[in-house]
Symmetry: C2
Subunit: 205 residues, 2 copies
């Protein structure tokens, strides 16, 4: 199985701009990506980066500067074996949650992301293609169905949590245990315990 982690170092996470500067967002995205690669290696697999530009990394890097959908579809088209794609911002992913993804039966195995996205998938059908625009989880179910591929879904909070918005940082502080959590703590992020859902606050060092 080919295992790809798409990464766009030139597109820092703009929805985190209320709480992180541009430079911080780049650093943070990089740290999350390192966590994801390390966790994937802990499952005994060899991930590759699918990056929009050359990056320094301890894993093989394929550079493809096209948008995500096109780059992933090119990899799907050119690869004979099955392909797994895991997003670089799944900072809560653990070897267990990823093993559930890889072990699930199905021609196409989807790990939905919060908000209708697709945070990870395994494609074992040669004709499956992706479209990450809009409600990609629903679109990917349809796309699989159209090529006659049987779909399985992995029900995981860890894999459903892509870290895109300030509220997602709470999940990292509560459930994370890797570099990403450490980076947030070092940059002053703390859990704010009130009533209802917990928020994050940022304190001065």
């Amino acid at each position: 199985m080919r295992l790809l982690v798409p990464f766009a170092p030139d597109q820092p996470k703009t929805r985190l701009s209320p709480v992180l500067s541009d430079a911080e967002r780049r650093a943070f995205a990089r740290v999350m990506c390192e966590d994801v690669l390390a966790t994937l290696r802990e499952t005994g697999r060899e991930p590759e980066l699918l990056a929009t530009e050359p990056v320094d990394a301890a894993v093989p890097v394929t550079v493809d500067d096209r948008p995500l959908t096109e780059a992933v579809n090119a990899a799907l088209a050119e690869t004979e074996e099955s392909v797994a794609v895991v997003m670089a911002d799944l900072a809560l992913a653990t070897p267990d949650s990823l093993d559930r993804l890889f072990a699930a039966d199905g021609d196409v195995v989807l790990a939905p992301g919060r908000g209708g996205g697709t945070n990870a998938f395994v494609a074992r059908h040669p004709d499956f293609r992706v479209d990450y625009h809009g409600a990609s989880y629903l679109d990917h179910r349809e796309a699989a169905s159209e090529v006659g591929a049987e779909v399985a879904v992995v029900d995981s909070h860890r894999l459903a949590t892509d870290v895109d918005e300030p509220g997602d940082l709470v999940e990292v502080l509560v459930h994370g245990d890797g570099r990403t959590r450490r980076w947030l703590r070092e940059h002053g992020f703390r859990i704010e315990r009130g009533n209802g859902r917990v928020n994050v606050s940022r304190v001065d060092d």
Copy 2:
């Protein structure tokens, strides 16, 4: 195992007030509760309501008008056997996700909710008590540890999704298949497909 679903018909979900009227929020909370009870029965178990006031229901009802933490702790204290507590707003829960909760080994099994909450648990230790204020998931881990109870955690997007805020309605529309999704559709809620995470919109009938 005693299986409790806390329900407060007098406390409609205020964080949904931007999109639902007071009467609608009451009806919606009731519909979600019915979904949760039906799904629990599909696992072959017999749930009870732990309600703040008398309610009409097809299951046994225990009335306790104290706040959630006190009412649940009273039930934990008075029950000899193990106790499971499942929140009434887990509209995405399926028999599979609940079976994973009930089948997990551990003196205390926690299903974390998004935002640091505890959406469901099983307590097999006589001294475990709850505190739902603040980051209850972390507090419950500590509370279990303090009484020497071994903790297990169920990693489920479905169980992590309590429906409290407008953004949570997207999850119901994308992943739900019960009364709750039907109710939202009948009340004009639709998935709004743009880029990034999907939103909901409400259309006039």
